[in-house]
């Protein structure tokens, strides 16, 4: 009976550690993916053109890292996954704004030189 109990305890322990290990690794992966997305967004035009979205991504990443350190894997994974989409949104928002500005600038320049010519 004692042997059985010991086996059971061992099984429970290994099961627990296995579950813990998988959740740890998926959290680690989510956090490192978020770190990559945030650093990519930070070097893009998002810093200038979508600062609020970028800031949101950064703060969620910091919270995710904090949660991971304090052992709250579930919370860390969720925050990291959110930081990732926040960073991607910041980047695409900034790209959209940059493309709009550049299209407008070219139009203005063409208009400008046409006006100059008409006056001349």
């Amino acid at each position: 009976m004692r042997k059985l109990l010991a086996h059971l305890a061992l099984a429970a322990l290994s099961g627990w550690s296995l579950a813990c290990a998988t959740s740890n690794s998926s959290t680690t992966r989510a956090v490192s993916q978020a770190e990559l997305a945030v650093s990519e967004a930070a070097t893009s035009e998002a810093a200038a053109l979508a600062p609020e979205d970028l800031q949101l991504a950064r703060s969620k990443l910091a919270q995710a890292e904090q949660a991971a350190r304090s052992g709250n894997q579930e919370r860390a994974r969720r925050l990291a996954e959110q930081a990732l989409v926040d960073a991607q949104l910041a980047e695409v928002k900034a790209e959209s704004e940059a493309a709009r500005l550049s299209a407008r600038e070219v139009e203005t320049r063409i208009d400008g030189f046409q006006r100059t010519l008409i006056v001349r």
């Binding site: 989409v85 991607q88 949104l89 959209s96 550049s102 299209a103 063409i110 046409q114 008409i118 001349r120």
Partner: protein, 259 residues
Amino acid sequence: MKTKLSLLAALGSGLLLVACATPANRNLQRAQADYAAAANDPQVRSLAPSALQDAQVALERAELAQRESRSREEVDHLSYLASKRAEIARFSARRNAHVASAPPVVVVERTLEPAPVYPRTATTAESRVELLSAELAAALQDLRTRRVERGLVVSVEDVLFEPERATLRSDALADLARLADFLHRHPELEVQIEGHSDGTESDDLSIARARVVESYLVMRGVEATCITAHAHGAADPVASSASAVGRAQNRRVEIVVLD
């Protein structure tokens, strides 16, 4: 006994009903609305299909979590991801639309490289225009051309100019852009730009039109020293100025690539 059984059955089905009717999750409903807004936007469907697909996958994960009665936190979380994916799809489409609508100048400014040097003496034996005819044909595409003794005449007709105006219509700039890129690659060619008016307009428009085309070519990287612009007024019509169609044909700029 029978009533007890039916009572139990009623209780059981009641419990089942309660279990099935998981309370609606507001964040999930918002995610569904966000996805629907993106998916119903034709611009998103055509310009950002893969981002829209990502949003759909994210929403399906959130809906599945709700059906499987996963924790409220998890459904909220997956709904947040789905809403953000829908927003990413909308902004991707917007970005791609801006890129597509930018006039061709943007592309050329990026790809502009130092023009290769062609010796001017190398073309004495044969006509320069003939030597480059295949490349010129590709560059000119829709532009009407005719061969004359002094070179090749490219007509830029009323597709580019409106009556009383000397402004280039931006939707027709692509033709000129191709010609400009060709001339940029071949600085050994000399070009004469000749402006014409339709007889009812001021003759000043003929020089204004020639100058607009000249400036456009220079802006696109063609050497200004290779170009000369002339005004012909209404002196050299190609059609009768009596009809609107004829006047539209006369309202033109001819670009002569000299031999």
